[in-house]
């Protein structure tokens, strides 16, 4: 039951009505039931896995609260959570890699392979639970004693499939004290959902048509086509993922919950480090708090900082998927981050010596960051490493003789969709459109919302396609 299906619309409508009709003290129970029902609808068997992750991390949290063997409970909880993730996500990858290695070394081996589909949202809920355990261990939050609240926190349906990866300190208190229905909050939530649907249906799924055609069979395509395909994917993944996040945050807001921000117009970043402060914020802040800082963060020697940065991005690549392409993608971002930090002083000196105006410098930095991110996305999207390398070689081969355009009108829709997105994001860089809209009279607000609805009906792709990050 994906957000972009009518079935979800029915589910959420019924849920919201019943949720606010119930007395506040019983809402958590109803919410928990809906969370589990929502997850059950994807694949019933994987509910067991979710319940194990919830149960183990809940008990380990309680174990730490008893002040004895705190480290033991932490290690046990993390081992089970990360173990579930590693087993289900990386088992086949490790088996394949070992078999390939054996073959290369002249000792072919046959290892078992799992035939199961990756459980939906496994990377997200295991990280949410792991973050909770570490926070309890660090005494940043108290262990949750109410099993129902805790289960509702981990299985919270708006964020379980693709995040944001919530922190216990943010969401658990909200589950305990639920307020009355707030019309203004509900309207803001619906507005966010509408923009999320625009990004997913009008931009991401539209661009996906071209991207799938090009990346699915890159051999006959020219460098120009592959470059356009990579640009389209750059916007597709942004709109797909941030569209999901907007809908998730909007859904939660209607129900009275505030989820953390996950995107902040990342393609206007002026450096890779800024990009990661604007892209998938809940994951990058998770890695910052639970990996980078424990490794020493920036309070160590310069070479160690570089190593720490590289480790974090490499692990981030691993988190995304069990494929060498994701490792290279993470590694590339690691290299970008290290080289950006390494060259920062030199670049500043050159710019100062050349008296480069600030606006030119800013534009240049945004363009370079965008291109670096764009090239890394090629590895993220390609089916395997060889294909990604082939695509990159073609892009840099200067074969720009012909551009594949299967249908001109569809191609124009894609460009219009990107232009609309950039226009809105650019305006948002200067001022909050939400605040601007809130200050406008009702007829104007409704006209804007209505226009977006009609645009979605006219330009959206309504095939109920999967969200990209749901596979992680």
């Amino acid at each position: 039951m994906l957000f972009n299906t009518i079935n979800f619309g029915w589910f959420f409508l019924l849920l919201a009505l019943l949720f606010f009709m119930l007395p506040q003290r019983h809402r958590w129970l109803f919410l928990l039931f809906c969370n589990l029902l929502y997850y059950f609808c994807f694949k019933a068997e994987y509910l067991v896995l979710l319940l194990i992750a919830i149960g183990v991390s809940y008990l380990c949290g309680l174990g730490m609260a008893r002040e004895k063997k705190r480290r033991f409970w932490l290690v046990l909880g993390l081992t089970v959570n990360i173990g579930i993730l590693v087993f289900f996500k990386y088992f086949n990858f490790l088996s394949h890699s070992l078999m390939d290695l054996g073959g290369t070394l002249g000792h072919p081996v046959t290892l078992p392979l799992l035939t199961w589909i990756l459980p939906v949202g496994i990377s997200f809920y295991t990280f949410t639970a792991s973050g909770y355990l570490i926070d309890v261990y660090r005494r940043k939050v108290e262990a949750e004693r109410h099993a129902g609240y805790y289960a509702a926190f981990i299985s919270f349906f708006p964020s379980i499939v693709s995040g944001p990866i919530e922190r216990a300190g943010n969401l658990l208190p909200q589950l305990r004290r639920q307020g009355e229905f707030d019309g203004a909050r509900a309207a803001a939530g619906m507005r966010l959902m509408l923009w999320g649907f625009f990004k997913k249906l009008v931009v991401a799924d539209r661009l996906a048509i071209y991207v799938n055609a090009v990346f699915g069979n890159p051999d006959p395509h020219s460098g120009a086509t592959l470059l356009v395909g990579s640009f389209f994917f750059t916007f597709q993944i942004y709109c797909d993922f941030s569209g999901y996040t907007d809908i998730a945050i909007g859904v939660a807001r209607i129900l009275g919950f505030d989820l953390m921000r996950n995107f902040n117009r990342p393609y206007f970043s002026r450096s890779i480090s800024e990009f990661w402060r604007r892209w998938h914020i809940s994951l990058s802040s998770w890695f910052r708090d639970y990996l980078y800082i424990p490794l020493g963060g920036s309070r160590v020697s310069v070479p160690r900082i570089y190593l720490n940065l590289f480790i974090v991005f490499f692990v981030s690549g691993m988190w995304h998927g069990a494929n060498w392409t994701f490792l290279v993608w993470g590694g590339l971002h690691g290299l970008y981050a290290v080289s950006s930090r390494f060259s920062q002083t030199g670049r500043d000196r050159i710019a100062a010596a050349l008296h480069v105006p600030a606006v030119v410098r800013r534009g240049w930095a945004i363009a370079v960051t965008f291109l670096l991110v764009n090239f890394a996305w090629v590895y993220f999207r390609a089916s395997d490493l060889a294909t990604a390398n082939k695509i990159m070689l073609k892009i840099f081969s200067a074969d720009y003789s012909r551009l594949f355009i299967p249908a001109m009108d569809q191609f124009i829709y894609s460009l219009v969709a990107i232009a609309l997105l950039l226009a809105v994001d650019l305006l948002q860089e200067r001022r909050s459109l939400a605040a601007w809209l809130d200050a406008r009279p009702l007829p104007l607000r409704w006209a804007v919302y209505g226009a977006v609805c009609l645009l979605i009906l006219l330009m959206g792709i309504f095939n109920g396609s999967q969200f990209i990050y749901a596979q992680f």
Binding site: N7, L17, F20, E180, D409, Q410, G450, L454, L458, F462
Partner: protein, 325 residues
């Protein structure tokens, strides 16, 4: 439930009231804008894709060719008209199968009955070579005609959620505005009674029959598609039109799987007493010539000019016989 909500909380009631008003206004805007687009759409008569249905429905013809992109590229109405002495329209459409042909036929038969209906068969008119979602996606070209019950049924596959989507007038023109504008300003003569010569003359080995791309070694027949094919023939006959099935050549020899499906069509034609003009490259080896094609299964204009006269001569023989309905 809504009533109890109103009594429980006036805040929720106020919010739902405003939301309901917004939805009513949205529906009104959708209906009005949809009607405006509808008005312009009905006036479009030309264009390679999508608008040709309006020509067929507004200008009665004596012979109509239905089918896929192969029909679209292989049957030249001007050549047929000269030879048959009857008005001919090519209603074949890119990326369309039997559902589209049946829907368009139903719309046409409501308005007039041609003397002869030709249906150029694709192997997968009767096989399961794609998903139900793909089938629905293909049919979206007929969305502007969703008020017709048969079209609506084919468009939605009977699914409740699909029916809801089609309640929107604008959704019926989803992703079509640019082609609508282009077709609206297209001039007479942009098509030759539905036929457009394929633009590319260079051969591209990109396309093949969906059944040959499908991994199943043997054809899997689709009862729903077969039922629609039968209904296509039956409804034409009920109105007094003669139905002729056809199969046009391909550049390569047919695969065993496609041969098997053609044998099924032979049997089907016998059982339903329908004429079947099968012009394969095996029987007419001149059609193995690659210069007559733009890809594996689509002829270019020289191909169409080579094929149409042969087809017409066979059609004349069929029409001369009075035993076949």
């Amino acid at each position: 439930m809504a009533a109890s909500l109103f009594t429980r909380s006036s805040r929720i009631g106020r919010f739902l009231g405003k939301l309901a008003l917004f939805i009513v206004l949205l529906i009104a805007a959708d209906f009005t804008l949809g009607k405006v687009i509808d008005h312009f759409f009905r006036k479009t008569l030309y264009g390679e894709n999508w608008s040709k249905e309006n020509w067929l429905l507004s200008r009665p013809c004596e012979v109509v060719c239905f089918g896929s992109s192969r029909t679209f590229r292989h049957y030249i109405p001007a050549v047929m008209q000269d030879s048959l002495g009857m008005t001919v329209f090519n209603a074949g459409a890119n990326g369309q199968y039997i559902f589209y042909a049946y829907a368009l036929e139903q719309l046409m038969l409501e308005r007039y009955t041609p003397k002869v209906i030709i249906l150029d068969l694709l192997p997968n008119f009767v096989t399961q070579a794609e998903s139900a979602e793909e089938e629905l996606g293909r049919m979206s070209a007929m969305a502007p005609y969703a008020d017709h019950p048969v079209v609506a049924e084919l468009l939605t596959g009977g699914q409740f959620n699909e029916k809801i989507k089609l309640r929107s007038r604008l959704y019926r023109y989803n992703s079509r505005l640019l082609s609508l504008a282009s077709n609206y300003f297209n001039t007479p003569g942009a098509t030759d009674n539905g036929f457009v010569a394929i633009g590319k003359t260079r051969f591209r080995a990109l396309h093949g029959f969906a059944d040959d791309l499908d991994k199943n070694p043997a054809p899997v027949y689709d009862p729903r598609r077969i039922a629609v094919l039968k209904a296509f023939i039956a409804s034409a006959r009920a109105r007094g039109a003669r139905v002729v099935l056809a199969f046009s050549p391909t550049v390569q020899p047919l695969s065993p799987k496609v041969e098997q499906i053609l044998a099924w069509y032979d049997q089907f034609a016998r059982e339903t007493n329908t004429a079947f003009i099968k012009i394969t490259s095996a029987a007419y080896p001149q059609f193995y010539d690659q210069s007559l094609y733009s890809d594996l299964i689509h002829m270019n204009e020289p191909g169409g000019r080579a094929y149409t006269p042969i087809f017409v001569s066979e059609l004349k023989k069929v029409l001369a016989r009075n035993t076949i309905p």
